[in-house]
Amino acid sequence: MRMIFKTSYDADINLFRDREQGFWYMTLLVLSLILPFLLDTFWLGEITNVLIWAIAGMGLMILVGQTGQASLGHAAFLAVGCYANVLLQDPVGLPFILSFPLAGLIAGLAGMLIALPMTRLHGVYLAIGTLAIAILTEDLIVIAEPLTSGVMGLVAPTINIFGLEFDRYGTPGRFYWLVLAIAILMVLAYRNILRTPLGRSFAAIRDSEVSARAMGVNVAWTKAISFGISSTITGLAGALMGHFAGIFNNETFNIIISIQLLLMIVIGGLGSIHGAFFGAIIVALMPQTIAILRDTAGSVFGGGSVAIPGLESAIFGAILILFILFEPMGIYGRWVKIRTYFQLFPFYRRDMFRRQKSYLKTERMR
């Protein structure tokens, strides 16, 4: 294991811990840049989907992983971002380069507006409140039919930036690079938010609201800001999702998507950017993997490939149960353990990551 000898204050906040780490991330960057030349159109589309889900996951991660507020309603912000982006382009006539950030801003404002009355809630109550918002949003899309054309849905136009066309089917490589660029920007923004005083107060609230208040953090306001940032990023992901899907309606952003988003970041590993990406890989690639496995099984055992309804979410649920029981820190947590095992090679102990036993207390009087 390499020890880092810190010679300046910058060493604490540098983007990469050392050159070796920087080298590996740069390799990853180069690999993802040349990906369109290595993969066919189908898999490139799937990877683009993974990236979009990862952006949405990062948005939720700020709220759940960093601030410790569980939200079961983030599909609502996906929907706000998606509809705002397309509506700003079509009837209003703004170009994508303006409508996209504006869509994020609108989703962020919506998130803050919703968060302000809800900051008094925590734990279970917040989860239920956000759940109600997700359900309300789905119905509101149907009610606001003149604007959103209800269950008929809207069609996302081809993205056009200064004459360059970005289309999922027409120019999949370009669309992938656009999504990749936005994903990288989001990762940098996420990293930088964590280094600011704001990011530290997020963590303080996550660990203990009472002590955060004692340290002078304005808990309600900070939670609202966290909600705002989170829904901004989620809204941007929603806008991309709209362009990726091409056509969307109220069903595209139903309550199952909200739940899936939350489950995704838990599988990936709460509180880390890696977690959002690992979770997105699982969620976005699983339908295809199941389909391929089913076809293989069908050809081996001679049976036809019969689609079993609900199989996907059942497998997803089973994976999740196993993770929560045996690896509560998710895929990233497991990766950190494996890495530590090799770094400290003969000295790794099993209890190194064991948490202290805790007991619950209620706030109810009877």
Binding site: I128, P309, L320, M365
Partner: protein, 291 residues
């Protein structure tokens, strides 16, 4: 007369919501965890009873299969806690929420594989029977639902407040460590309460199935029951019933008087307003936050 008819059918619906909400509240009151799979427990209870009763499956008499289904669900709830949730002991509420959501996915899939995705109706001796009160014609099953729900809530309320075991469950929830010091077997109590919640879910499921057909996705009714539990005040047994009845009553009246499309959002709108203005429900149980 229209209004009265709406009132009774809404009350019967509300009682089913209330029963599911009771399951939520039971588990929350005793273990401080929230079981998002309660709706799916209800679905499973209904399907087990249906599988025992209906001619295409086991064809047993209805009054025999009801207690058997309730018993099976009780054992199922106990085992779920013993095998899965006991490992989560002391972890955060959110982790338990996520776990039970995933459990719900798995249960829905299992029920779909065993009993299929087509709506099936339970064969009960109550089907097609009517009771007349003056000029009012009520389905016997609706009357049964209302009576059984009120009795069950009363029994559970007395159980929690008057019996030793009930008080021990409350103690285990309020402060686990102190409950251990008092010699309460906290873990076994948790399993017992999950068993009890499973039994309540089975009752809710059978009553729901007696009013109409069922399919695996009725477990999603749990979300509405959840709203009911919060409206009434999470952690209060009469509150759960009250919330369930409010939600049940709002629905038919809203669809009768308000334009379609707007009516279905009223329960959630009410939930949102309650959360904003009275976050701990109508019959609140939390008074002030202590460090």
């Amino acid at each position: 007369m229209d209004v009265l008819q709406l009132f009774v059918s809404g009350l019967a619906n509300g009682c089913v919501y209330g029963l599911i909400a009771l399951g939520f509240v039971l588990i929350y009151k005793a273990t401080e965890a929230v079981n998002f799979a309660q709706g799916d427990f209800m679905m499973l209870g209904a399907f087990i009873c249906l599988g025992l009763t209906n001619p295409q499956f086991m064809d047993l008499p209805f009054w025999f299969s009801v207690p058997v289904a309730i018993l099976i669900m009780g054992v199922f709830g106990y085992l779920v806690d013993m095998v899965v949730l006991r490992r989560m002991f002391g972890q955060s509420q959110v982790a338990v929420i996520i776990l039970t959501i995933a459990l719900g996915f798995v249960l829905r899939f299992a029920a779909g594989v065993i009993w299929g995705h087509e709506p099936i109706s339970l064969r009960t001796p109550m089907a097609g029977e009517y009771v007349r009160f003056g000029g009012l014609v009520l389905g016997l099953s609706e009357v049964m639902v209302i009576i059984v729900t009120f009795l069950l809530t009363l029994v559970l309320y007395v159980y929690f407040n008057r019996t030793k075991l009930g008080v021990a469950m409350q103690a285990a929830s309020q402060n686990q460590l102190a409950a251990y010091y008092m010699g309460i077997p906290v873990k076994r109590l948790h399993s017992l309460i999950w068993g009890l919640a499973g039994m309540v879910a089975a009752v809710a499921g059978i009553l729901f199935a007696s009013k109409g057909s069922i399919e695996p996705s009725i477990g999603l009714l749990g979300i509405k029951a959840f709203a009911a539990a919060v409206i009434g005040g999470f952690g209060s047994l009469p509150g759960a019933l009250l919330g369930g009845i409010i939600v049940g009553l709002i629905e038919p009246f809203a669809s009768y008087y308000i334009a379609a499309g707007y009516s279905q959002i009223t329960p959630y709108l009410l939930l949102f307003l309650i959360l904003v203005f009275r976050p701990h429900g109508i019959l609140a149980q939390i008074h002030s936050k202590k460090v």
